[in-house]
């Protein structure tokens, strides 16, 4: 047995650090306003996917913690936990699990036009990664084929810093911007690519039109650029929504568009018909050169997704979809379904 002698001062130092951190935390908790209680949110779901006759079952939880330190400083974190049960030919089912940090970031509101973000955060490239990827938001149980372009890691997050905000805003238009850089990291929970990039977006509230362009440059290995563009339209007073994205990487490119609509308005939300939401998505990818790192299919692919979602309550939703995939490597039918629950509650009881 080996006993290691450790000088006493590091213990004192550790206690001091712990005490200091506890004081800071205690002070922060009591300095925040009553309406700024930290919250736990996120989604839990049971998803299934049947591709060419093989069914995979995926129970998953994605908790989100929002912790305001002051009225200008917010700490946010999200994790993804999932278990996957998939068929092994002739050997029944096998399972694998996946636990990953989606983001852990601090946001400081510097002024009315700028927020400084540091840590591990979702890459602001196009819209899907940052805005639509949570399972309680996404209309389908999987993401678009091009969603891996420009995001810098398999988790969709990068380790670095960002300045973002609203550059201009009035009643008829608003312009937003994001400027970011990131470091190369091979740490398991903080995997990241060294890159620098920007996204600029506009929104016209009167017409419900939104668009933007994204660009980033990979600054490690063979340097390359990723570009993207998005266009959304949500006509005011209508239940229809249109979303689309285009992305281009060095060896592949693609696009998707999605049309969705509730069949009746919120005023009829108690009726069955108001809880049904048909969704259609079409996507296409093109490959110019083999590249296993960009996450897109190895051959040109077209895919049409037909979805029908039903909201049992606002927090509970059933997703179903049928997709037909056309590719030179083989056509396939894909059936997906999911029961998704969204939760939102204070992290502790407040006065």
């Amino acid at each position: 047995m080996i006993f290691r002698h450790t000088p006493s001062w590091p213990h004192v130092s550790r206690f001091r650090i712990l005490g200091f951190a506890a004081t800071l935390l205690f002070g922060a908790v009591y300095s925040i306003r009553a309406q700024d209680t930290p919250l736990l949110s996120g989604g839990a779901g049971f998803l299934t996917q049947t591709t060419a006759g093989n069914t995979t079952y995926i129970p998953t939880v994605a908790p989100v913690l929002e912790f305001p330190i002051t009225d200008r400083l917010l700490i946010e974190s999200k994790a993804n936990l999932l278990e996957s049960a998939f068929p092994r030919p002739g050997r029944g089912y096998d399972t694998s699990h996946y636990v990953a940090l989606a983001y852990l970031q601090g946001d400081f509101q510097a002024n009315s036009h700028a927020t400084l973000t540091g840590g591990y955060f979702y890459t602001p490239f196009n819209t899907f990664n940052e805005r639509l990827s949570p399972i309680w938001i996404n209309s389908f149980t999987d993401g678009p084929l091009i969603s891996s372009i420009g995001v810098g890691s398999s988790s969709g997050s990068i380790l670095g810093g960002m300045i973002r905000g609203n550059a201009f805003h009035n009643a008829s238009a608003s312009i937003t911007y994001d400027l970011y850089f990131s470091a190369n990291s091979a740490k398991e929970q903080f995997s990241s690519t060294r890159l620098a990039g920007t996204r600029v977006g506009f929104y016209f509230p009167r017409t419900g039109l939104e668009g933007g362009v994204s660009f980033n440059r990979v600054l490690q290995g063979t340097h390359s650029s990723n570009t993207g563009a998005h266009l959304w339209w949500t006509p005011p007073g209508s239940r229809l929504r249109f979303r689309s994205e285009y992305a281009h990487a060095v060896h592949s490119q693609g696009y998707w568009f999605e049309l969705g609509s509730q069949l009746a308005g919120p005023a009829d939300s108690a009726r069955f018909i108001a809880r049904v939401e048909p969704v259609f998505r079409f996507q296409q990818t093109f490959r110019s050169k083999p590249d296993a790192t960009d996450g897109l299919p190895g051959a040109n692919t077209q895919r049409a997704d037909f979805g029908l979602n039903y909201r049992l309550r606002n927090e509970l939703r059933i997703n179903t979809s049928y997709s037909r995939r056309f590719s030179t490597t083989g056509n396939a039918n894909i059936w997906q379904s999911g029961l998704v629950y969204r939760f939102l509650f204070p992290a502790w009881r407040s006065k």
Binding site: Q35, L40, N166, L344, F345, P346
Partner: protein, 100 residues
Amino acid sequence: MKLLILSICLLVSANHAVAQSSGSPQNRPTPNKPVVAQNSTPQGNDREDGQQVFHRNCSRCHHEPQGFPPAIAGTVAHHMRVRANLSEKEYQALLSFLNP
């Protein structure tokens, strides 16, 4: 797998328990059915602006939560300010709408 199922069950029960203990249904904000105040008061205008901010920015991506305790209204607005790149004016209006 068992751990995952157990955590889902815990989250569902915690959500219901905390939501019920943190406020009665009467004082919980329901963003999809907000109480619209008189237009003549500054607070009324703020709340109406906040309703617009909510529908134009938050609802573009996701459905409204069915309701949440007032204790977390500021945190929700703070989160949306970052995610949706809201201006200071929009943030204040949203805060007023979520926690009048």
